[in-house]
Amino acid sequence: MKRYLARRMAVMPFLLFGIASIVFLVSRMTPGDPLVTIVGERNLNNPEIVAAAKAQWGLDQSMPQQYASFMKNLVKGNLGTSFSTRQPVMHDLWERLPATLELTIYALLGGVTVGIVLGVLAARHRNKFIDHVSRFFALIGSSLPAFWAGLLLLYVFYARLGWLPGPGRIDPRGLAPNKVTGFYTVDSLLQGDFGLFKDSVMHLILPATVLGWGVVGIVSRLVRASLLDEFSMDYVRVARAMGLRERTVVNTHALRNALLPTITIVAFTFAFLLTGAVLTETVFSWPGVGSYAVNASRTLDYPAIIGVTLLGGTAFLLTNLISDIAYAFADPRIRLS
């Protein structure tokens, strides 16, 4: 175990290096002058800014040297300055990350819970009506354009029925809670403001539903498949032969083993959530990393795009690592070599 951990950790810097290299490649793919992608078209006529950027990013040097300065800036945490916010990209990302994390975590929790329930139901009633319904529900989740689903839900539940609030994290007239964790649901409770807490929860419902639906699909299919595998095992047959109730057999025996593979899927799900977040946040004007990425793409704010891409790749690597380790801890049968 220790050796496995050590080896996984040792590879991480190389993977991160690889990710940064790909991002560098992409950033130099522009057909025109890379200078445009660093200072923006508007600043091209400003000799001071141009000279400063050239010096910092080594633009008048050869490609390998540019690569070296890109990496050097990266190590220092310098991702350049966003054209549209005029702030360092690192600062923007840091500021917007909690909003995305809060949305993603609620979507993940909700999606996994509903997914497990649906998966268990589908496996217990295999090839019956409920199985088909859950399969349909799951496939819809991975076929639904998140941006469209968001619009539709907003139209129905906000504009028509008025049951839920509109876009944003809280009521636009309200004040955001003092930043402690950056999670509005947590921070509002910390300052004892229950009205604000309720407001932020209500604002989370729709975007988290849109985002979590895809997770429901992935998780329920996996739970169904692995539960069916467990059903064919001897220990389940023994439990049934002993006359245990079906509910006990499923919930206390089979399900525990069947749930192990879901741990690995969480990493894959996380990538799915990040993808969904990009589009969901845009529809719901959620001030997170996803809408930042979309704004950046719309305005061709290259430093910001590069920054988000780097963040996405790194986040994915880390979740992969964490889920592999969690899996190894959870299932003693797994021998990692």
Binding site: G18, L151, V308, T309
Partner: protein, 283 residues
């Protein structure tokens, strides 16, 4: 997959076993959309780009899905949208499969340092959430359908490379490949004639499943403004326009339904294929 083919299965002609139930409905839906994409210019109810009616009218008999903010017929535009989404997805999948096959076959068959280098590259590319990398590449190349297509190919081919490599490595160890090597068949011929045909099933099944995902990604990129540009009838771009006319719900509903139906159809067909051929997903 079993190697034994039961006599009944061999005798029965026509419809394959996996093509029933929802998968059959999916296959029909895909066929209908393909026909629409191919023939819509011949029978299109209206001109997709022309102002044919008063603006922002709700659905009616004359305009099944209403009209948009420029008085264009939404239903017509939805039909024409298939002429962007389907060909783009087809080209993306085809190119990715070709590139992935070449890289995966070389890596799996040759092994050694070539394999190591190629696969590390594949691993790292696959470490990015597809949409983020596609967004970054499209933005760098410049927005537009063609560049979005290039970006999607760059993001997508590693999936098939990894899949095919694993298959090639498994097939390579079979005895008949060893015999072919022993009697001196050229390497390329072995790969083409004996290894690839046996290694291809998972790639094809996954390509079917991915078709829907690429349709979704194309629409997403257009929605963000990196793919098709507004006047052209493309599903993602139409939803963007619908979002600006929030209270005219029908404008975004039509293209959204189109995406949902196409992607769902491919998912159902792909799901049935996967179960039938017992192929595990790539992840």
């Amino acid at each position: 997959m079993t190697d034994v083919i039961s006599p009944a299965r061999r005798l029965r002609r026509g419809r394959p076993e996996w093509l029933r139930g929802p998968a059959l409905v999916g296959a029909i839906a895909i066929t209908v959309w393909l026909l629409v994409a191919l023939t819509v210019p011949l029978w299109s109810p209206y001109d997709p780009l022309a102002e044919v009616a008063p603006r922002l009218q709700g659905p009616s008999w004359h305009h099944l899905m209403g009209t948009d903010q420029l008085g264009r017929d939404v239903f017509t535009r939805m039909l024409w949208g298939s002429r962007t989404s389907l060909p783009v997805a087809f080209v993306v999948i085809l190119s990715s499969v070709v590139i992935g096959t070449i890289v995966g076959a070389i890596a799996g068959y040759r092994g050694g340092w070539i394999d190591a280098v190629l696969m590390r590259f594949v691993d790292i590319t696959m470490a990015f959430p597809p949409i983020l990398l596609a967004m970054a590449i499209t933005a760098s190349l410049g927005p537009g359908v063609r560049n979005a297509l290039i970006a999607m190919v760059l993001v997508w081919w590693p999936i098939y490379a990894r899949l095919l490599r694993a298959q090639v490595i498994a097939v390579k160890q079979r005895e008949y490949v060893e015999s072919a090597e022993a009697i001196g068949v050229k390497r390329f011929a072995i790969l083409r004639r004996y290894v690839l045909p046996m290694a291809y099933t998972p790639v094809l099944v996954n390509a079917t499943m991915d078709f829907g995902q690429v349709v979704l990604l194309t629409a997403s990129l257009s929605f963000i403004g990196l793919g098709a540009r507004p006047p052209s009838p493309e599903w993602g771009a139409m939803i963007t326009e619908g979002a600006t006319q929030f209270y005219s719900w029908w404008i975004a509903t039509a293209p959204g339904l189109a995406i949902l139906v196409v992607v769902l159809a491919f998912n159902y067909v792909g799901d049935a294929l996967r179960d039938s051929f017992d192929v595990k997903g790539v992840l």
